[in-house]
């Protein structure tokens, strides 16, 4: 391979680069130090002529490796996207001339900086390979939908209407889920004034009429294995038969279970027949079917109904739900209308602390007020079953009064609990060869990390709710509906369409062997040198997406199609045997080495910045665009995720004379913003231990700083770099420079 490698470097003079930098000097650097066989300067590299020049060299000069020294790798990606060759980008525009002052004094340091980026770009590309498609990809495009409630049915219909086959699995004997148990639903169209039919039977008919949808009722999933494009799923029915089906992606719409109201002792549930939860009232309403609902205890006419909002929700009490389930205010409004529509004389009171009516619920709320439903801001402390009917004690929060009212019927608005299957932090996966089906599990995955997807906050299975809806921590499996977060039927239907689209993208990407979100379209995939592996299992444990299993001999088994290409395994591997064709220990390590290291007395320190390509590096670019200046001693390298950072890069950098290292990744913790969920958190843990290493080198721990950076931290990023520059000045130069 070494024989065939031919590096070419192209130095752009456009966007002011030619005025600010001595490009002919840079060309010499590329030629001598960067070992580029061809070096060309161009006045306007991204125009048709510039691009044609590069393409011509690739076609007729046998160039295999291209270093484009121009703007940031985030700019002009289409112009500089050449097929079948490795391409690196030296960021001279945003990273150098736009972030450095345009003065004669600054000229020398600016030129130094540019020269280093040329060296780095050439070194990087020299260790890259043009990525080839992952060979172990599957092309099954059928989509499995788990759960036949309104979410699952919507997803199934959406997928089928887009032209893909669907397998719909429902644990009950009929479709419809919780929605089928409702008398009516809250309105989803103008004028949002009255409860309307659920539409479930029409939906079931549509499913039955759709040729592309196969429905499996009374069925559980007893095993899920494989990867996007090639999942293999065992579906067992109640009768005991098991069928193995192949699908390309999975939509988990397993929905919710109503919170068990009998846990709410003080609200009297279970102590009298006239205290019901919302599902209980739906049942009464369905029985009454438009006629007046009567008192469950004695069948008498109901004159007063009290609705208790946030029953066991938004609560800090142990065993209660800490969150708002989002639909219950509208549901109580709807249920109060059941009474008011049948008989306006029935007194209906909704006791709330904060009334939340998302979507068009505000119109619905107004409609209820017009119908005479009374809304009172009050905190309910107790509900006592009182022979027939019940007594509700509450504090009126507007009038600051302690009040007791008698009601014929009390309805508790309890919340939604996600059907998330087993908690894999509590229930470990079976040892290899000892597979057992879990009856509590939804998917029964045979993944090394556990049978279901990780439970996130409050047991819901969501990825970051703003940045990555429907994405889960298992590639090719998407959640939607109340298993993802509490929601109402309108939101659940919307959610289902989103997840359907994600699943379709996943099977299409899988067929081409490409990565899914967020490195969508990436053709590289992880490779590992088995001979060097010590079976330490760090990669299999730390992979945020459970992509890596273990084979019979306990070596890691990379399921490339499940991989998101974050490189967290690469950063984890202590023996550095994991790499990607275009991103490896070497592609970054050699950039670190390529930087010229002035000696201790030149007063030119060197600071290495490893910046996450998702947030921190764009923030740096934008700092450049805004002409925010930062230290000329910094050399920034984008990384796929801070989780991919190998501690060897840091120790190598310090050993070779860098004076400081700044790591910039995304926010981690509960409300993380890391695009790879756990990457920045793992990096943070690893870096917390880097102090020991530095101490062994007799260097100050402060020389390495890890920061959480958001993409909007445009002002802050230069400050972080300058902070390190000041720190280096305070600490003095790294004594390892001359070694």
């Amino acid at each position: 391979m070494a024989d065939e490698k031919k590096i070419a470097a192209y130095i752009c003079q456009g966007c002011g680069l030619g005025d600010r930098l001595d490009t002919s000097e840079l060309a010499k650097v590329a030629e001598k130090e960067g070992k580029a066989a061809i070096v060309r300067e161009h006045a306007f590299l991204c125009n048709a002529d510039g691009v044609a020049t590069i393409q011509k060299d690739i076609d007729s000069e046998g160039v295999t490796h291209v270093c484009v020294a121009a703007c940031s790798r985030r700019a002009k990606t289409e112009a500089f996207g050449f097929d079948k060759v490795a391409v690196s980008r030296a960021n001279l525009r945003e990273g150098v001339i736009w972030s450095q002052p345009n003065t004669d004094d600054a000229k020398e340091l600016t030129q130094d900086m540019a020269a280093d980026y040329i060296r780095m770009g050439c070194a990087e590309v020299s260790f890259m390979k043009a990525p080839d498609t992952n060979p172990n990809h599957g092309s099954n495009k059928r989509i499995l939908v788990v759960g036949g409630g309104i979410t699952g049915m919507t997803a199934a219909l959406e997928v089928a209407q887009t032209g893909y086959d669907v397998l719909l699995v429902e644990k009950d004997a009929q479709l419809g889920g919780q929605a089928a148990k409702l008398h009516k639903r809250q309105p989803n169209h103008e004028p949002y004034a009255d409860p309307q039919d659920t539409g479930i039977s029409e939906m079931i008919a549509a499913i039955e009429a759709e040729a592309k949808i196969t429905v499996s009722l009374n069925a559980h999933i007893t095993r899920t294995s494989g990867a996007p494009g090639q999942f293999s799923v065992d579906i067992s029915t109640e009768s005991g038969s098991t069928q193995t089906e192949n699908v390309g992606a999975i939509i988990q719409a397993s929905g919710f279970t109503p919170y068990d109201a009998s846990k709410l002792d003080y609200l009297g549930y279970g102590k009298g027949a006239d205290i019901v939860d919302q599902m209980g009232l739906e049942e009464l309403a369905r029985k009454a079917n438009g006629k007046g609902i009567t008192r469950p205890s004695d069948g008498q006419e109901i004159k007063k109904v009290v609705f208790v909002q946030c029953a066991g929700q938004r609560s800090e009490k142990d065993g209660e739900l800490a969150y708002c389930s989002g639909h219950c205010c509208n549901t109580s409004i709807k249920q109060a209308m059941y009474f008011k529509d049948a008989n306006p004389e029935v007194d209906t009171t909704i006791l709330y602390t904060d009334l939340r009516t998302p979507g068009n619920g505000e119109d619905f709320y107004r409609s209820a007020q017009r119908k005479g439903v009374i809304f009172a801001k009050g905190q309910v402390s107790e509900v006592d079953a009182n022979g027939n009917g019940a007594k509700v004690k509450f504090k009126d929060l507007i009038l600051d009064d302690d009040v007791e009212i008698d009601a014929d019927l009390v309805v508790l608005a309890t919340g939604q609990v996600a059907n998330s299957g087993v908690d894999i932090d509590e229930v470990p996966q079976n040892e290899p060869g000892q597979w057992e089906v879990s009856v509590d599990s939804i998917l029964n995955m045979d993944y090394r990390q556990g049978k279901d997807m990780p439970h996130l906050r409050h047991g819901f299975q969501d990825s970051h709710f703003i940045c990555f809806p429907y994405e889960t921590r298992r590639t090719g499996i998407y959640t939607c509906g109340p298993v993802r977060r509490p929601m109402d039927m309108v939101q659940a239907s919307e959610d289902a369409t989103g997840a359907a689209l994600k699943a379709i993208q996943a099977v299409e990407n899988a067929e081409l062997g490409r990565a899914a979100h967020p490195r969508s379209g990436d053709l590289s995939y992880p490779e590992f040198r088995k001979e060097g592996c010590t079976q330490c299992k760090r990669c299999t444990v730390e992979c945020p997406f459970g992509a890596i299993d273990e084979d019979e001999k306990r070596y890691p088994k990379f399921n490339e199609s499940r991989c998101r290409r974050c490189g967290t395994c690469m950063g984890a591997c202590p023996v550095r045997v994991i790499s990607f064709e275009n991103y490896s220990i070497d592609t970054v390590g050699q950039q670190i080495k390529a930087v010229s290291m002035p000696d201790e007395f030149e007063e030119k320190p060197r600071i290495l910045a490893l910046a996450c390509e998702n947030d921190a590096y764009p923030a740096l670019d934008m700092a450049g665009m805004n002409r925010l200046q930062y230290s000329a001693f910094v050399r920034a390298i984008p990384v796929r995720c801070l989780g991919s950072v190998s501690t060897s890069w840091i120790t190598d950098a310090m050993n070779s004379g860098y004076d400081g290292v700044v790591l910039m990744g995304c926010k981690h913790g509960d409300d993380y913003q890391c695009h790879f969920v756990k990457g920045s958190e793992l990096a943070n843990t690893r870096m917390s231990k880097i102090g020991d290493t530095l101490e062994q080198l007799d260097l100050e721990g402060e020389r390495v700083a890890t920061h959480e950076v958001a993409i909007t931290d445009i002002q802050r990023v230069p400050e972080l770099i300058n902070e390190m520059a000041a720190k280096v000045e305070e600490l003095g130069m790294n004594p390892f420079k001359d070694f």
Binding site: L355, R366, D396, I398, V403
Partner: protein
Amino acid sequence: MTATNTAMVAKYQNNFLQEVEANVEEGDWVKMCMQCGVCAGSCPLGNAWEHPPQEIFMMIRAGKREEVLSSESMWMCTSCYNCIVRCPRELPITHIMHGLANYAHRLGIAHKKNPTRRFAKIFWNNISKSGRVNELSLSIKLYFMDGIVSGIKKGLQMMGVGLGLVKTGRLDPMALISHKGIKDTKGLQAMLKKANEIEDKRKGYAS
């Protein structure tokens, strides 16, 4: 008047919200309040109110009839209309406040010594008599509302202003005797009487 009150209590059987809806100007808006408190925050006299508007609405819904009707709060409204402009539910709060005050007055349970109420009465008597406001007699009645001593005090306080008004021809000292009303004061009074009758009949105050 207290008889009217008793009649109303009997008629609505403690459903004060329904009573307000039927008898108070714009009273059917009370149920639409969503308790955001923007009215209370917008009122320039907010601090002076014992119960801000949204609290009054809540009290009506909670059936606190006596407390609401004998309250001085709605009498504090100066009709600046800030709350109406700002109310996200578009409640005509100013009108409701006046409606409540008026209703409490009609029932005879409004706060007896409330100065706004007393001024309103003086003003009404003044204007309905001749069809035009007699400013001089109105001012004098207002000054002497609390007795002779405080009346003289207030008169002396305002003397400079009064003389200034006389000097510039804005106040006719002779108006006490020579105040001219509209041409047909009798007709006006007949109209007002009829209107009163109609209202009483509609709202069921009178037999």
